[in-house]
């Protein structure tokens, strides 16, 4: 059961679910004056960026 939970956590991390929290933490440390983006805004930004370059192979 514990391994299943670890696997689930790994998959969540790998699919990028922690990205927003990590970015906000980074902003708070380095740019405390900047406003934090909303989760929706951040998600859309990331998607646009991800597919602007070669991301999937033959």
């Amino acid at each position: 059961m514990a391994t299943f939970r670890r696997l689930w956590r790994f998959l969540r991390e790998a699919s990028g679910e922690g990205e927003y929290a990590r970015y906000c933490a980074h902003l708070r440390v380095h740019y405390p004056d900047r406003p934090l983006p909303s989760e929706k805004q951040f998600y859309l930004e990331r998607l646009k960026h991800k597919y602007a370059r070669v991301s999937r192979c033959c």
Binding site: W8, F10, L11, R12, E13, A14, S15, G16, E17, E19, Y20, R22, Y23, A25, H26, L27, H30, E39, K40, F42, Y43, L44, R46, L47, K48, H49, K50, Y51, A52, R53, V54, S55, R56, C57, C58
Partner: protein, 708 residues
């Protein structure tokens, strides 16, 4: 700023070795000797046993041993001696950490991302087509080519990009070799992208033609993905995993529901299309999908198809281990003489061209110099991520070879031979195939069609259907038995078609950006990515580009994959030569001339095979092989009045397309020669010390991240 000395690195390596938990040296040596012996034995068994069918486990064991040895010894040698990966040097992820793009990430997650990005249909289709030669030639190249070529390319390019703050291959080519190489590389990448998209679209088209079940399932994935997209955007942004589980359940429902669509006469009519109609639909879809917002269709489908892809690869490995099937295909078939129906040409050079991505793939160098280098926490992890993930990809290719070879050879050829060679009539086709020495009857094929829920399994070229039959055979023996073979077959088709559609969408989008960049050099406004007219124009051009080759392939009486796959293979291997050229230049500039053979040897081999293949495809006098020879043959028939009136226009189109393919092949060959010559000139100047080696690496900054 302190540059690490050779001695320091050795101390670090020894400290690593003597840390607690490692076995004593003699025991470790004994384990490696045992693995080497097992590997050598398995390879010998594969190569030498000719008269009885062998078990797939011999291939699996041989592959596992070869990969273990390659990873433990060769990649380590490259890491320590050639590249001198420095664990104390801060990577761009650490130095430029911006919380989004440059983020030091857990090495397993980086591995997962990188592997998911490089895993495509190539290692599934290539080996399936190469099985025409028997399992031996393809398997040997998958193993040797990966360990000595593909893995090296991925590893070295990844390392080079890490040292250059994540620069792309094109940028590295421009900076390390020269602007000519840089521009040619960009042009080559864009054109190779178009051929790749056309080929994978053809694979899907050939798999779905005349298949109401398959078409229904794939059509359903579009609204399912859109549903997921809306859910992710409006309801639960960022909750990728849970929405993917939801999407997977819906897609499985579509796979199972497809059989009712196929059985109902009304629905079956709505979902049964011939190849031409399907091609047009896929082209329209490709254009529409690439201009729709990313969050609506592409992103959710990408998440879903990535999970399904990885899951199926894992399941297939388990299935092969559980079932341990016997390979029915012989080690070497009669078609090593070059007369094969699936693709024409002898083992050298065409086996190497056909396997392509399963051993060496130029496209991976774009991924290795994409987002992955920006996530690497420590340089030493590049070994596992770069070398290791290509090994895993090579293993996928081995599994595809196994799945293709569990079929009776007669059945394999009946599925993969185009009507243009064996004829469209079932009885006639099976007679021809049986006359080749691979017995099969029309009744066998009818039974197969019934078993997998299709109308007919004849001339289902492109590699996907026969792979799906092999996978269904393995899966149904693991779980569910014969009743579920049809569901497993369509599941396998869906799994491949799903991520192919994603690549078509993502690839068209990226192609648009690349074309905008290229055209921006000619007329500035076209380079503005947000300018709508430019978006529309480049979008249409890219989709028209791959759409044209797709449509041409669909009209080809030889099935399309016959001529397009070698074109793709040549293009892909040429891009790999470019990547290895750049890597060689970097290794020379690093002062490691005595190790330059590590990248130069695979590069020379690739240049030799692809230029030979290119030459033969253009100039060979055999119409089956040479594009120009085929055009001449058809022109001759046309001039002699031997073409019926209703086929004249089609024949003229075929002549034009063959000539076009010859020109495209010549273009690829020419581009690589340009880069090669520019590089050789550069190497000469460097090695004769007429030019000082100036590396464009980022400055050394000691890493502050502790541990591994």
């Amino acid at each position: 700023m302190s540059i690490p000395e050779d001695g320091d690195l050795k101390v670090a390596a020894t400290a690593e070795r003597s840390s607690a938990g490692r076995w004593p040296r003699p025991l470790r040596a004994a384990v490696w000797v045992a693995i080497s012996v097992a590997g050598a034995g398995a390879v010998a068994a594969i190569a030498l046993r000719r008269h009885e069918p062998i078990n797939a486990m011999w291939l699996i064991v041989a592959a596992a041993c070869v990969y273990l040895i390659g990873y433990r010894f060769y990649s380590r040698f490259i890491a320590l001696k050639v590249l001198e990966l420095d664990p104390r040097r801060a990577t761009p992820a650490e130095r430029l950490d911006d919380g989004r793009d440059f983020v030091p990430t857990n090495k397993w997650i980086v591995f997962g991302h990188h592997f998911a990005a490089i895993a495509g249909p190539g290692p599934l289709v290539g080996p399936t087509l190469a099985a025409q030669l028997g399992y031996l030639p393809g398997t040997l190249w998958i193993l040797v080519g990966a360990v000595l070529g593909g893995c090296v390319q991925d590893f070295v390019v990844l390392f080079a990009s890490i040292r250059r703050n994540g620069k792309s291959l094109g940028q590295m080519a421009k900076e390390e070799v020269g602007p000519v190489a840089g521009f040619t590389a960009l042009f080559a990448i864009t054109s190779i992208l178009i051929i790749m998209l056309a080929v994978i679209a053809l694979v899907v088209t050939n798999a779905l033609r005349g298949s109401p079940w398959g078409t229904f399932t794939l059509a359903m994935t579009i609204p399912i993905a859109m549903l997921m997209g809306i859910y992710l955007r409006f309801l639960r942004p960022g909750k990728v995993l849970e929405v993917s589980v939801l999407g997977f359940i819906l897609v499985m429902a579509a796979v199972i529901g497809g059989q009712y669509a196929a059985q109902s006469p009304l629905l079956a009519r709505w979902f049964t299309y011939d190849a031409r109609a399907l091609a047009l639909m896929i082209i329209a879809y490709g254009f529409a999908a690439s201009v729709l917002p990313v969050w609506l269709l592409l992103a959710p489908r990408d998440y879903l198809s990535t999970f399904v892809k990885l899951g199926v690869i894992f399941l297939l490995a388990l299935g092969i281990l559980a079932v341990r099937p016997t390979l029915q295909m012989p080690a070497i078939s009669r078609f090593i003489d070059g007369s094969g129906p699936v693709f024409a040409g002898t083992v050298f050079p065409f086996c190497f061209i056909t396997i392509a991505c399963g051993a060496v793939s130029g496209f991976h160098s774009l991924i290795s110099s994409g987002t992955t280098p920006k996530l690497i926490t420590r340089e030493t992890q590049a070994r596992m991520v770069g070398y290791g993930s290509m090994l895993l990809e090579s293993f996928v290719a081995i599994m595809a070879m196994v799945a293709a070879c569990v079929l009776q050879p007669g059945m394999y050829f009946a599925i993969n031979s185009p009507a243009g060679i064996v004829g469209a009539d079932p009885v006639g086709a099976t007679a021809v195939i049986s006359s080749w020495g691979y017995p099969v009857t029309a009744a066998d094929m009818e039974q197969l069609a019934r078993l997998v829920g299709e109308q007919s399994m004849f001339a289902r070229t492109g590699g996907a259907p026969s792979l799906a039959v092999g996978m269904a055979h393995i899966f149904s023996r693991t779980l569910g038995g014969g009743h579920f073979t049809a569901v497993w077959y369509h599941f396998a088709i869906m799994f491949e078609a799903l991520f192919i559609l994603t690549i078509l969408d993502a690839g068209s989008r990226v192609g648009r950006f690349m074309l905008q960049e290229l055209l921006g050099h000619v007329w500035k406004p076209l380079g503005r990515t947000a300018w709508y007219p430019s978006v529309l124009l480049t979008g249409v051009l890219i989709v028209a580009g791959w759409g044209y080759f797709l449509y041409q392939g669909v009209l080809d009486p030889l099935g399309g994959i016959n001529s397009l796959w070698p074109l793709f293979g040549i293009a892909n291997q040429l891009l790999a030569s470019v990547a290895l050229c750049v890597s060689t230049t970097i290794i020379i500039k690093m002062g490691k001339q005595r190790y330059v053979w590590v990248t130069m040897a695979p590069m020379l081999w690739l240049v030799i095979t692809t230029q030979t293949a290119g030459f033969q495809k253009i100039f060979s006098p055999h119409p089956r092989i040479g594009f120009l020879a085929e055009a001449e043959r058809l022109a001759g028939l046309l001039a002699a009045g031997q073409i019926p009136a209703d086929r004249i226009a089609a024949t003229q189109r075929l002549i034009f397309n063959n000539r076009l393919d010859a020109v495209v092949t010549a273009l690829f060959a020419g581009m690589v020669l340009v880069i090669l010559l520019d590089s050789v000139r550069h190497w000469y100047l460097l090695l004769s010390r007429r030019r000082a080696p100036v590396l464009c690496e980022a400055e050394f900054v000691p890493s502050a991240i502790a541990g591994d």
